[in-house]
Amino acid sequence: MRRLIRFSLPLLALAPLTQAHASDRHFTFTHETDVLSKGDVELEPSTTFRLGKPGGYFGVDERIEFEVGLGHRLQTSLYLNATTERAGDGQGGFTSESAFEGVSWELKGKLSDPVADAIGAGLYLEITAGPGGVEFEGKVLLDKSIGNFVGALNLVSEAELAFHDEGLHPEAKVEVDLGLAGRIGKYVTLGVELRQHNLIEAEDGETQMKLLHSALFAGPTVAWRSDRWWGALTVMPQVARLGGEGTGVLDLEEYENLSTRLLFGVHL
């Protein structure tokens, strides 16, 4: 944890020194279709806190993103990913582990604009490679901005090949993200985000892939923009298990009880 703080603080300290303007996001899990102008560069550190699994589990995912506008309504990003996890050791103590999770490359294209056109649309592709496996993620992005209202919907699918001791282990994820927010004054938006996540994989020792985990998350989101940087925060409790294996109102085997994501954008 201390390492993460040491990692993040210098980035935040940069904020007041840099020029104004940034492509402000209103949500932290849901993406909008906006892309940076050609040659513009933005630094986006993102921290996700995951807690509320049995045994005192606590996880922190740190992603540092460098975004570059390519022009022609395209933007590309490079991410560095790290995770710190703390879990109970079953004897009242805790073990804590930090790991570098790899790098990701993203390409995002904007097809239409949420203000100028009837609906904003975009495509998003992300490839991650790390010590744990490789991951391909595709998203269809839709958004709309009318007056003081912003709405965004993402359809996400992800294929992962995880490196396990017994060989490659395939996983598929399907996710729907929805964000709705209203502007309050010039600098702040307030809203809600919903996330529906499904995990499809083979159970240990089997080859047949099936829906093992499915859950709905929902919670409030706030975003603010100053002249120099922007930030967004979502607090997203798990609301319900929607299917898959296991019993109980919530799925705490795969997912956490509470995810909180904090995102900053700093224009370089």
């Binding site: 020029q19 104004a20 303007h21 940034a22 492509s23 402000d24 906006d34 892309v35 940076l36 102008s37 040659g39 513009d40 506008g69 309504r73 604009d113 949420p114 203000v115 100028a116 056109d117 009837a118 609906i119 709309k144 901005s145 009318i146 912003v150 923009r225 224009h267």
Partner: protein, 112 residues
């Protein structure tokens, strides 16, 4: 909800979205613009709309033209160049300013 109801809601929502589109330049805009800039053309205004969407949505959602008085737009565009580092060629600036001014004056093309 029945399929018919759902369709009606979808159509109502769709037309709401359709109404919120940034106006596409038409003859009424050229008529408004010609006394100010005798060389203006419909093609230039259409070009201005495209360039506005391409150059001005990189940092914030597009500001609707009618949110500012037509006369204030040249100032706003200069401010974006001087203070926010937006890079425009002289032609792009002219197209964008002209589009924003006509679209601010006539945000919806009247139906005849």
């Amino acid at each position: 909800m029945s399929a018919g109801r759902l369709l009606a809601v979808a159509i109502a929502l769709g037309s709401q979205l359709g109404c919120s589109v940034l106006v596409h330049p038409a003859d009424v805009h050229v008529a408004w613009a010609t006394p100010r800039w005798p060389d203006v053309t419909l093609a230039e205004l259409a070009q201005g709309r495209t360039e506005y969407v391409d150059h001005c949505a990189g940092c914030h959602t597009l500001v609707r033209p009618e949110a500012q008085e037509p006369e204030h737009w040249p100032e706003h565009v200069s401010e974006m160049e001087d203070e926010q580092g937006v890079k425009l060629t002289a032609d792009e600036r002219q197209h964008i300013v002209r589009y924003l001014m006509v679209a601010s004056a006539i945000p919806v093309v009247p139906k005849d």
